[in-house]
């Protein structure tokens, strides 16, 4: 039995196929089997601000599915990670809340006893696989690449949910993971800034202004790509990059890579194998470096 079930959430399996397929290939190389369970739905993140009970129940039914299969959850999206981790903590610690959730879940033929652990893909690589093991599997050191890490918010915060595995103010896990590929990490102004995705639907102008600030800072650091680990951050910085360029009459042309794509390249995979066809911002340098 696989220890982890891969929880894709809503965004990755439709708008982040490059993330999903590169992550799956990397997991395969690492010999980590993941299960694809039937029946997962939204993690509950969009429901929580409207009705916390609905949000919690949506999270709980996904946790219940994993528990019934004897699996922990491996997540790719940081918002899913936050929502599911919070629910797992609350349901483990609060017996009364768990009892109420189970009354509701019983109507769907499910129950949850509090056993499931939730791990973000990057955290799992960092803590469980380890940087040393990743280095062993690197066949092509990406020393010609300089990249800017973007941690995003929910991967790190609120930090009490994440057992202090990284420092929310001065994080280092993604930097260590990038270094394992041989690529150089470049820091930039206001690195911890949020992508603005949380308010994109409510106030687009403000959200895109947040996106613009970060793009300005990253481009000023003169990098070959930005590296991130959340599909929503990718929507803001990659899918919306053109719009920000149009709104502010500027040109970034900043390639945005998922960490799993960077790692796949370092493991010897081609641009095609890591799904680069689906990355919207192309880069001559990347195309030249990884020409087959």
């Amino acid at each position: 039995m696989s220890r982890y079930a891969l929880y894709l959430g809503c965004t990755v399996p439709v708008r982040g196929l490059n993330y999903e397929l590169s992550a799956r290939k990397v997991l395969d190389r690492l010999g980590i089997q993941v299960a694809d369970l039937d029946g997962f739905a939204c993690c509950g993140f969009p429901a929580k601000p409207l009705d916390w009970k609905a949000g919690l129940l949506m999270a709980a039914r996904n946790l219940a599915l994993a528990e019934a299969a004897g699996c922990d959850l491996l997540t790719l999206c940081s918002a899913c990670t936050g929502t599911l981790t919070e629910a797992a903590h609350r349901l483990k610690e609060d017996a009364r809340l768990r009892a109420w959730v189970n009354e509701e879940l019983a109507r769907q033929g499910k129950k949850y006893s509090g056993k499931v652990r939730v791990r973000h893909f990057a955290r799992m690589l960092y803590e469980e696989t380890g940087v040393e093991r990743l280095k062993e599997l690197v066949t092509r050191e990406l020393t010609d690449l300089a990249v800017a890490p973007h941690y995003g918010c929910h991967y790190l915060k609120p930090s009490h949910l994440y057992d202090g595995f990284d420092d929310p103010e001065n994080p280092h896990s993604l930097e260590r993971l990038i270094e394992a590929t041989g690529a150089r990490v470049k820091h930039y102004e206001d690195e911890g800034q949020c992508c603005g995705g949380g308010i994109l639907g409510f106030d687009e102008d403000t959200a895109l202004l947040m996106t613009k600030q970060k793009l300005d800072h990253v481009v000023a650091a003169e990098v070959d790509a930005m590296v991130l680990i959340c599909p929503f951050c990718a929507i803001m910085y990659e899918a919306n990059q053109r719009r920000v360029e149009g709104l502010y009459n500027t040109a970034y042309k900043l390639p945005v890579l998922y960490y799993s794509q960077l790692l796949g390249l370092a493991m010897g995979m081609s641009l095609e194998e890591v799904g680069f066809k689906l990355n919207r911002v192309k880069s001559r340098k990347l195309a030249q470096l990884f020409r087959e």
Partner: protein
């Protein structure tokens, strides 16, 4: 100053802070001593003066219920948790904003974007549809098909009366 803009404190609702404190996520509102760390850290406040978390909390503590619920203020929090980590009083601001949002939603004040999302969740169990087209595309990239699970999600949303507000 025109009369209309002047606030009359007798219109305030002195119970609003208790109402918020009774709402999960809002428990710690009374701890705020208005230091401003949240506003100084806030990436939304950094790009627009439309949003200022310390001010919203202050208004809520004063009992400005109508103003807080009817303005768009609480929906402008990007829930990034920057202030959550830094608040010296552990007020847990984004959870507090969610608590106030829950109260607003119960009074039928739900922004259009969230209504649309609830519609998607009810129809597909997820924010983006995964139908034949999406599964064919997934297959092109050797990714396994996904079966939508909408009935159970719809049941949860029905039970919680999120539906009504979404119509």
């Amino acid at each position: 100053m025109p009369e209309d803009d002047i606030i009359d404190v007798s219109d305030f609702d002195p119970n609003f802070r208790d109402e918020i404190a009774a709402e999960p996520g809002g428990e710690y509102i009374r701890r705020c001593f208005s230091c401003g760390t949240c506003s100084a850290s806030c990436p939304v406040g950094g790009v627009t003066d439309k949003y200022n978390p310390r001010r919203i909390i202050h208004m809520a503590l004063l009992g400005m219920r109508q103003e807080v619920l009817s303005s768009g203020f609480v929906w402008l929090c990007s829930v990034c948790y920057t202030c959550y980590e830094r608040c010296p009083q552990d007020v847990r601001i984004p959870e507090l904003m969610n608590a106030i949002r829950n109260i607003a939603v119960r009074e039928g004040r739900i922004p259009q974007t969230f209504k649309t999302q609830v519609g998607q969740l009810r129809a597909h169990g997820r924010l983006y549809e995964v139908g034949d087209y999406e599964n064919e595309r997934r297959q092109e990239y050797d990714l396994p098909p996904i079966r939508e699970e909408s009935a159970q999600v719809r049941q949860i949303l029905d039970d919680m009366d999120v539906e009504e507000e979404a119509e």
